[in-house]
Subunit: 207 residues, 2 copies
């Protein structure tokens, strides 16, 4: 059976698990917390020298890294990834954009504010996160104001990748009510049978 | 004819141009400098709301963004992108890793030190770039110590994407002699017929 080494609260780890659930592929989950050093052991670093979650181990022991590469791997041949051509290229654009212009600000703000309690201690970094994260949400708003999903033809791995941290962006103090088309898309995605949201944490105290 | 809006000194802009040259596809280049405001015009932002280079316009006027998505778009069906399966997934892993764990440190250090002359002014940021960039080069070294190219089967778009900023990493004060397998791979890549290196700038004065 496929094994995912992941942290339940991580949007990046949510991605491959959600993809497998949508495709009806069973998997075994091993809770792995980078904050507790779980990703710094020699065994873990042998799987992923970058020391990041998620790591996914296929039935035959082959190890995959990079959540968006995992999405593409399992989505190939399904409706979640268009056939080669312009629609697929659009999906790829959103996937790279997510990792470069969305996750580093929205996921990081969520982590610092809600999971590490560093709202004051990391105030300068959070100002940058707020600026860039809101810019990213504006880009999504512009697209989703004229389309039901990020790429035409129906929901794709691009929507899954962006849903991961967008639907919990409030935990990074982003206000989705300022981006009504994004907020509507979140509800549209959450209504797809089989889609599950990330759990909500108890807030930690700000430091 | 295909048009690329790009900056000659940018590794991200080098990627689609290099891919097209390797495939023998002609293109028109429009020099576009974000530092001069070229990417903030309404016309440019209509093509790419993120305001980044490169932007690529296909014959039919369709606009592509995200350099690594462009690589995949043109490489489909060629030896530069393996057929769907594990080798392709490995290529995707490197492409996402490049944008998340390599480019934000190695390209940024190069830009701040060599193009903006901000070695002193951005000392703290450059310390982070040095740490993370060297970590990235270590990951490449580990792979390239046991393989000729990043993904087995020959050079792929993963190698092109990583070559872009690795072969000029010295401009960000990274020392490739510490990563001999990476240095050897750079030479192996540069020896492929049709591969051209980025031009070398005149150094600007440090501020």
């Amino acid at each position: 059976m496929i094994t995912i080494h992941g942290m339940t609260m991580s949007g990046n780890c949510w991605k491959p698990a959600q993809m497998l659930r949508l495709l009806g592929i069973p998997y075994h989950w091993i809770e792995t917390d980078p904050n507790l050093g779980d990703t710094r052991t020699p065994e873990y670093l042998a799987m992923n020298p970058q020391g990041e979650v998620p790591v996914l181990v296929l039935d035959d022991g082959v190890v995959l890294t990079q959540s968006n590469a995992m999405l593409c791997h399992f989505a190939e041949g399904t409706t979640w990834l268009p056939k080669p051509g312009l629609a697929r290229t659009r999906v790829m654009q959103w996937l790279f954009w997510e990792q470069y212009s969305h996750e580093p600000y929205i996921a990081v703000a969520r982590n610092l504010i809600t999971y590490r309690g560093q709202k004051q201690a990391q105030a300068e970094r959070l100002r940058l996160c707020a600026e860039r994260g809101n810019k990213a949400l504006g880009v999504m708003q512009q697209r989703l104001a004229v389309a039901k999903f990020l790429v035409e033809g129906g929901p794709s791995v691009a929507d899954l990748a962006l849903f991961a941290y967008t639907h919990v962006a409030d935990e990074g103090e982003f206000d989705l009510s300022l981006y009504p088309a994004v907020a509507a898309w979140v509800e549209r995605m959450a209504a797809i049978p089989g889609i599950t949201r990330l759990p909500r944490p108890d807030r930690v105290t700000s430091a």
